[in-house]
């Protein structure tokens, strides 16, 4: 191809790229814009020493520099502008080259970038603001609060992605459904596309087309993937948690377990006990569009209902073990049976705890190992540093509820005197549970 043909091909590719960008197909856009850049750079470099070829020389260099900039290749962009300026560009082109140079250098040295991709993310983003409830930080924010909130928000989004995948993707359309589901869930991360740091504001966005799912090609998957963030925005971020109609709609869309996984992390971050508050704002983080209020029991029950299945499961275990233990006090034959259950262990899944009208809810179902050994029940919960034993099944569960809640109360009351290890443990309690008192 001669210079003119290279240039035309580059322009055509750049125009195709723009169409893909307008359709929010980022992968295709990036591929095409990079191809256009390579061709235009090649065309410009043909004229590297043809200083008399103005305005063509500087126009091609300017075009290549613009494409390099769009590819976020800032160093190349600056090199190309410099090449153009080293010739004899007309004054108008020279001015335009210098303007471009200013933009590229500004972007390269500015920690807050701005490019086509970020602009697209910002276009679809939800501006979310975190403010401390107390004024003692004078407008600053507490880093663990931000970390906790963002973690909870992302967890909610991943659970939403998981629930939607199960709901909308036909099992037979995917070679390994479980693998694809986990892959999809784990890669469904929210993106922060813009932040402000006086209080804490962040544009929350997502771009699922960047996720690699090589084994899923179906149309339904593509549609689901494309709608995921918008549906999440509508159902989780912008919805009115107090509206009974929303409760009805969301309950018909997601079952109890799905709702628990999606909403528990959010409810955790907006709980009354939290020291910060969350709102959705305008794009300048000034005007509040929606302020999240602490959820009451009706909202909790509608969005993250307690799991009832666990209780039934526990009763089964209890009955089974108790019967056999009682047999150990009987005749010889019955004693032999008792020996068979001298050691027994069982995973118990807990969603919430209660002690003296104080409730606590786990963000994710918490699994503990219940061990029956030498006629004693034992729980050693390393996550929350609880180690207890009891002869009675009901007793051990009651003791676990009591130990957990009392431990948390004790840590909260002695917050200022906690050791480093205890402070870390308190954070673990606070970050993974919602307390209702």
């Amino acid at each position: 191809m001669n210079i003119q043909e290279l240039h035309r091909e580059a322009v055509n590719l750049a125009k195709e790229a723009q169409l893909e960008f307008d359709n929010e197909n980022i992968i295709e856009y990036q591929t095409l814009i990079f191809q256009a850049y390579r061709l235009e750079k090649k065309a410009a470099e043909f004229l590297k020493t043809s200083f008399e070829s103005e305005p063509t020389r500087s126009i091609l260099y300017r075009s290549a520099a613009t494409l390099a900039f769009k590819c976020e290749n800032y160093t190349d962009s600056i090199d190309l502008i410099t090449q153009a300026l080293s010739g004899n560009p007309f004054e108008e082109i020279k001015t335009e080259l210098l303007e471009l140079l200013k933009t590229v250098v500004g972007i390269r040295t500015n920690p807050i970038k701005s490019n086509d991709y970020l602009n697209l993310l910002n276009k679809r983003a939800v501006p979310v603001k975190l403010e401390e409830k107390t004024g003692k930080y004078a407008g600053a924010f507490v880093i663990p609060h931000v970390v906790e909130f963002l973690k909870n928000l992302n967890q909610s989004y991943q659970s939403y992605a998981e629930a939607l995948f199960i709901k909308e993707i036909d099992k037979d359309s995917v070679p390994d459904f479980e693998h694809s589901l986990n892959d999809f869930k784990n890669k469904s991360n929210l993106l922060g596309s813009y932040t402000i740091f006086s209080s804490f504001g962040i544009n929350i966005s997502a771009e699922n087309s960047l996720m690699d799912h090589f084994n899923v090609y179906s149309k339904e998957f593509k549609e689901m993937k494309g709608n995921l963030f918008n549906e999440f925005k509508e159902d989780v971020l912008y919805s009115n948690y107090e509206d009974p109609a929303f409760h009805k709609r969301i309950s018909s869309k997601f079952n109890d377990e799905e709702r628990r996984k999606i909403f528990n992390p959010i409810l955790n971050s907006i709980a009354k006990s939290k020291e910060y508050k969350i709102s959705i704002t305008d794009y300048e983080f000034k005007e509040k569009i929606k302020e999240f209020k602490a959820p009451n029991n009706t909202i909790k029950q509608a969005l993250a209902p307690l799991e009832k299945k666990t209780d039934q499961h526990l009763t089964d275990v209890q009955t089974n073990l108790t019967r056999k233990i009682e047999q150990t006090t009987g005749n010889k034959r019955k004693t032999i049976l008792a020996e068979n259950i001298n050691y027994y262990e069982q995973n118990l899944t807990l969603t919430g705890l209660e002690f003296e009208k104080k409730n606590i809810y786990f963000n994710d179902p918490h699994v503990i190992l219940l061990i029956f050994e030498n006629n004693y029940y034992r729980i050693e919960d390393d996550d929350y540093k609880i180690a207890i034993s009891n002869k009675d099944f009901d007793g051990i569960l009651e003791l676990y509820n009591k130990s957990f809640i009392m431990k948390l109360i004790s840590m909260l009351e002695n917050k200022s005197n906690l050791s480093e290890e205890e402070t870390e443990l308190l954070l673990q309690y606070q970050n993974t549970t919602i307390r209702d008192w």
Partner: protein
């Protein structure tokens, strides 16, 4: 002089037929919005003074043409390309990528004796379109603005042509800047 809008794709040999068809359709939408019909006359001033009869036969499905600004701009591009190719010494329209869109450029065709493969871009083409002129945004005012800019610049400047299209009174102006 008669000009068939569908002929743009033949005149613009370095633009894809689809792209030319797009420009033609935008132009038809802008003209029919006024409303004009095939056979209407474009009054030309500047490098040439006279009337051009505009013909078209394409029936455009207007569902996809909702943005007035966009079809006015694209429609003005279509008519400006015709004017540039007919009334300047150049017959090629080149494009180049700028941060907010594209620039249009004029140059000699490959068969022209002055064609230089190492310097095929010769002059800039500035295009502006008005769907319906208003006292503050009139065809006359735009021409006067361009004339002032021309007076201010000297001969060492980048060669540039200005094309202004006004659809409601169907006027076109092309001049050297």
């Amino acid at each position: 002089m008669n000009l068939s809008l569908e002929d743009l794709k033949d005149a613009m040999i370095y633009f894809s037929p689809i792209q030319c068809l797009g420009l033609t359709e935008n132009c038809i939408v802008a003209l029919e919005e006024i409303p004009y019909q095939t056979g209407c006359e474009l009054e030309v001033s500047g490098l040439h003074t006279g009337k051009i009869t505009l013909d078209w036969h394409t029936v455009v499905n207007k569902n996809g043409y909702k943005e007035k600004k966009k079809y006015t701009e694209k429609g003005a591009e279509a008519l400006s390309f015709f004017l540039a190719m007919n009334y300047t010494e150049y017959d090629i329209v080149e494009e180049s990528i700028i941060s907010t869109g594209v620039d249009y450029w004029l140059g000699y065709g490959e068969n022209h004796e002055k064609y230089d493969p190492l310097n095929f871009i010769k002059a800039r083409l500035e295009i502006s379109g008005i769907l319906r002129e208003t006292p503050t945004n009139s065809f006359k005012k735009r021409i006067e603005e361009k004339k002032k800019q021309t007076e201010a610049s000297d001969n060492t400047g980048l060669p540039a042509y200005v094309s202004i299209i006004e659809f409601s009174n169907l006027k076109g102006h092309i001049s050297k800047k």
